[in-house]
Amino acid sequence: MSKREDIKKTYKLYIGGKFPRTESGRYIKWTDPKSTTTVNICRGSRKDFRNAVVAARETLCGWSSKTAYNRSQILYRIGEMLEGRRSQFMDELVVQGSTKKGAEKEIDQSIDRLIYYAGWADKYQQIFSRVNPVALPYFNFSYPEPMGVVSAVAPNDSSLIGLVSIIAPIIAGGNTVVVLASEENPLCSITFAEVLHTSDVSGGVVNILTGHRSELVEQFSSHMDVNAIVYCGNKPEEIKLIQENAALNVKRPVVYSDENWFDKNTQDPYRILNTLETKTTWHPVGV
């Protein structure tokens, strides 16, 4: 009998709830630190990004108008699904160079982080809202609203916990997101897309691209239909580029440099607030 061939997974992009190959047809050969595994990773293009933004924009209204309680449940569900796929993430993290213990810790913390933001999803609004004193017969109040479509450049070093730490607060706030996964460790990101796909997150709420940062940061920051950009990294020239491009349509640039995503201090409700904007309403008193 002939030896059975393993069926290897094709790592693709995640756009609009589908797993397409890159429109450009380009690939990056990714090899693990021990040089035992080689995988072809999609080298996402600006057109892939454009398509992802279209998908994120289309689904924004549906996602942001869900009740906060419902968004909370869906985030919790992502945590549940990640728990169920623990062994698969273990294997991939180890291939990417983690120790077994390190991988276990990363998965635990990623799940906990999702549950953390699931808890905040239906609480941040009342905490961050306020009634403002005004010298006129109006009832004046301010509350946070989602900014819209957010582009995000995920941390390069920690692939799973970094990705989760970026995505969770953005979508907890009712935004939709197009995220560029870690360039160095891309395997977990696409597998995480499979988790999202089975967690009642509607297609287009989270879109995950892989590819070269240097090539895509320009588009991520200049697209006029993106309302905020979250950048994880510490390259001064990239940060400058993002801040300049953000001025084109006054999108909000949020930069996280030198964060240790394993640290509990990197999770807080203010990170949800980072991609929200305040709406103030004047309501006549006595009507």
Partner: protein, 295 residues
């Protein structure tokens, strides 16, 4: 009617379309194509809730597509319901933009010939430059081809100087053979344009249907020397698809048809997508619908 019968090779049509759609139009050609698309649009509003205000707004848009951007063409025409013709005509005074009106009990066409002709005379009297009629699909499917042909001929007569576009409503004609037959009947009966759809029935304009109609126009031109126009309508909302249609025209009918006298897009949201592409091509940044006027 014997001479009308043509058998359409469905697989062949699909294959031909796959070829057209693989053409890559870049850079300068793309910008020229995008501008050409704009100049061929029949900016359309055909809703029961249309108001004079909406029609005036649309007319303003037709003239001022995107004022921040110089050198843009205007659209070819505004397409409205009969009661809105005079309002559109007034709003488009002193422009080259035509007013097209749907007529003949659009979109179903389910009324008597007398009423249809009265409607056509009314819109022409109100100043419509173009009339978009619907054929009687029920009669057509029952095989009453003479009835359909006569009806078109009567409407053409009622149109006077106005151009007549004949809507086949291909989504209800079931087969490509029927599409070809209906195209031939419409052209023989006096249509100036043949048009795919009302936009009220799904599917609307599909590439195979458009190809079959273009081939009918080509064959009719070879036979008689008369150039009939083509108007795909319904479901064309993206610039990319519109450019692919231009490729199809160019390679089926040739350069002569690549202008608003012989080719139109019936669309409402296409204009904004094209504008977004034109601005993207010029400043290099992907655009957002927030920065373009409503249509």
């Amino acid at each position: 009617m014997e001479s009308f019968i043509n058998r359409i090779d469905q697989v062949g049509a699909q294959e031909r379309i796959a070829r057209f759609f693989s053409r890559s139009i870049k850079k300068k050609s793309k910008i020229n194509a995008l501008k050409a698309v704009l100049s061929m649009i029949d900016l359309t509003t055909l809703e029961g809730k249309d108001s004079p205000g909406k029609v005036k707004q649309l007319c303003y848009k037709a003239v001022h597509l995107h004022d921040q951007f110089p050198d843009l063409p205007t659209v070819a025409a505004i397409c409205v319901y009969p009661t809105m013709v005079s309002i559109a005509k007034k709003s488009l005074n002193n422009t080259d933009i035509n007013v097209a009106s749907v007529a003949t009990a659009f979109p179903s066409g389910m009324t008597s010939l007398e009423y249809k002709l009265n409607e056509v005379r009314m819109v022409v009297a109100d100043g419509a430059d173009e009339v978009d009629m619907v054929i009687s699909r029920g009669k057509f499917l029952q095989g009453e081809y003479n009835y359909v042909a006569d009806e078109i001929a009567f409407v053409k007569e009622a149109c006077g100087k106005a151009h007549l576009k004949v809507i086949l409503e291909t989504g209800e004609l079931v087969t490509l053979d029927n599409v070809r037959l209906a195209s031939d009947i419409a052209m023989e009966a006096g249509a100036d344009f043949i048009k795919t759809s009302t936009g009220k029935v799904s599917p609307a304009a599909t590439p195979p249907v458009v190809l079959v109609m273009l081939e009918a126009i080509r064959d009719y031109y070879k036979k008689t020397g008369k150039k009939i126009g083509m108007k795909p309508a319904g479901g064309i909302s993206k610039a990319k698809l519109a450019i692919q249609y231009l490729v199809m025209i160019k390679e089926t009918l040739g350069q002569d048809w690549l202008n608003a006298d012989l080719f139109r897009f019936g669309a409402s949201s296409l204009a904004n997508d094209v504008l977004m592409q034109i601005v993207k091509q010029s400043i290099g940044v992907y655009q957002s619908a927030n920065y373009f006027s409503l249509d």
